[in-house]
Symmetry: C2
Subunit: 346 residues, 2 copies
């Protein structure tokens, strides 16, 4: 094999690596493999209950997988700063429990059909167990935090939990509101998504007893990563920039959630387009062809592109926040994760 063939192969591989986003998340998952196994074991152990329906329902949701991004952030941050205890494992499991509890309650609130690619738990067992098992996981999250033994970490995560609920209520209140602004949208996603990412990141520095500057840096990293994550999710609900639509698109549209792509498209809309959005979002009158029309409008006004540009901006801010930490493989992995979060939509 001559030099140019080898070079070409290397370039190809580099191209694949750059193009195929999953590698950054996979790299992180691989790095954290041992500790994530411990976190998963904790999750399974702490969702146990003599009441059979509880582990059954909790397992249904937990085994469906999900990306476990939030606990991964906690684990990676702890390693980046050289934490040597094990409280971060309990906090990572607590973070995933809080997240899972909010998913269960969200599905009741949104009357969802699907969650993590499976039938949503509320459709399988009804609303009542979803509400109650959510409460159970939430309570168990706090028991894990008590075990972790840090009052400051408890403060951070209980505050985040309260902010998440506020964000969800605010989102309810603006459902179908075509006068939503970029500012009001950002406030909602900061509360309902970014607050938990921020807390997931900073609790590691908290239990490690690191200085305030490092706690603040991780809070910023998590918050900006969370914003990027939600912005991309909201773009992906309209298929992102891909030619073909992925799975699970159109949920926000059907539910009348006025997310950033719609806010941005509305800003550039004439009277006719505004009437379209008012009908489908505010009045909730949708025909089968409407989603296609919505996509056409979003692309015409570059609303998805602009949403993803904003996500990229947040991801960059997240990466910059890591500059106070010394270079190591974990810092690189966290930095790459921010990039990956955005790449998955393009």
């Amino acid at each position: 094999m001559d030099i140019s063939a080898i070079a070409n192969q290397a370039l190809e591989r580099a191209g694949e690596a750059a193009a195929s986003g999953p590698n950054a998340a996979e790299t992180l998952a691989h790095l954290a493999d041992g500790e994530m196994k411990a976190v998963n074991a904790l999750i399974l152990e702490r969702m146990g209950s003599p009441v059979p329906l509880i582990p059954k329902l909790a397992k249904y949701l937990v085994e469906a997988g999900g990306k476990r991004v939030r606990p991964l952030v906690t684990i990676a941050a702890a390693n980046m700063i050289g934490y040597t205890g094990d409280a971060h494992l309990k906090l990572a499991a607590a973070v995933e429990f809080i997240h899972t509890a909010t998913l269960l309650h969200d599905d009741v609130v949104d009357e969802s059909d699907l969650r993590r690619g499976r039938k949503a738990a509320n459709l399988v067992w009804g609303n009542a167990p979803s509400v109650l098992v959510g409460d159970f996981l939430f309570a168990r999250a706090f028991m894990l935090m008590v075990d972790a033994g840090s009052m400051d970490a408890l403060h951070s995560l209980s505050r985040a939990s309260s902010i998440i609920a506020e964000g969800e209520v605010r989102q309810l209140a603006v459902k179908g509101d075509i006068d939503a602004t970029v500012g009001s949208y950002m406030e909602i996603i900061e509360a309902k998504t970014a607050a938990l990412f921020a807390s997931a990141a900073e609790v590691s520095a908290i239990v490690a007893g690191r200085p305030a500057e490092e706690i603040a840096a991780l809070d910023t990293y998590g918050r900006e990563l969370g914003l990027a994550f939600q912005l991309v999710d909201d773009a992906l609900d309209y298929g992102g920039l891909a030619q073909s639509l992925g799975k699970n698109t159109g949920d926000d549209f059907r539910e009348g959630k006025v997310t950033l792509p719609v806010v941005l498209a509305l800003k550039k809309s004439g009277q006719a387009d505004k009437q379209f959005w008012a009908r489908v979002m505010a009045e909730g009158e949708q025909t089968e062809a409407d989603f296609e029309t919505a996509l056409e409008l979003l692309h015409r006004h570059d609303a998805l592109k602009a949403t993803l540009a904003m996500a990229e901006d947040k991801a960059r801010t997240a990466q910059q926040a890591l500059s106070v930490f010394p270079d190591n493989k974990w810092k690189t992995a966290l930095s790459d994760l921010a990039e990956f979060v955005v790449q998955r939509a393009s």
Copy 2:
């Protein structure tokens, strides 16, 4: 006025005091008035949120009143043991928040029409805000506990919260189950009601740094009081022993909740009665006359009387648990409270 007239008046008053149960709770409320005002101020302050729907919905429920029995127990226990700090105020508010959160979620779970004599919040605003504001109050409860600063109190109340959710799920699972036993019924009410009373009582001794024996005694007091409380509630759902039915009777019956009165009646039932209970409870087929029939069966088998006898027994155990504490007016008030809880049904 001659001596006998005065004596008669005094006797009459004593008779009224003994007969009219509310006085024991009122005495306690009066004793604790200053501190309960502080707890109420904390409750109002900590349910605040820039999202208008949250304080609106929370206030609707909190202002409807309720008896505030649980925080009263926390306050009274703290005073009985001579605690001089202020952490008990925050814990009392946290206990009421946990209780209010479970009420909001219960109403969604049970599809209730009424709560505290008003239209249930889920009927006024829908299920979604009830679920989310419940989550908000739950999170705020934990923030209050963090402020109280005791990891052991956090352990007690987070554990109680997890047990409550387990009890509620178990109750769901046995809905309409006419094979329910006294044992399974007791396990459910111990979890869904008594666990929070136990924690409400013991956290005062915990923050006061009292010895394990006193913490255990207050745990027992609260648990037995809670059991008595729920037994009486379940008897009152069928009107207790009164000649005329009070308000809000028949909820459990309509929802197919097999509570102790029904369990006890079923134990004494012949084939025909069993078929009646199976139809109305298990199959949920009820006609208008069925509630009357149920009452007739419960009275014929002395099921309400036996339920209240069991409540009395629990109340007595609660009182006995207080024997490790020195006599003072707070101990008397807590002891009287246990009696009052039972008296309200006869």
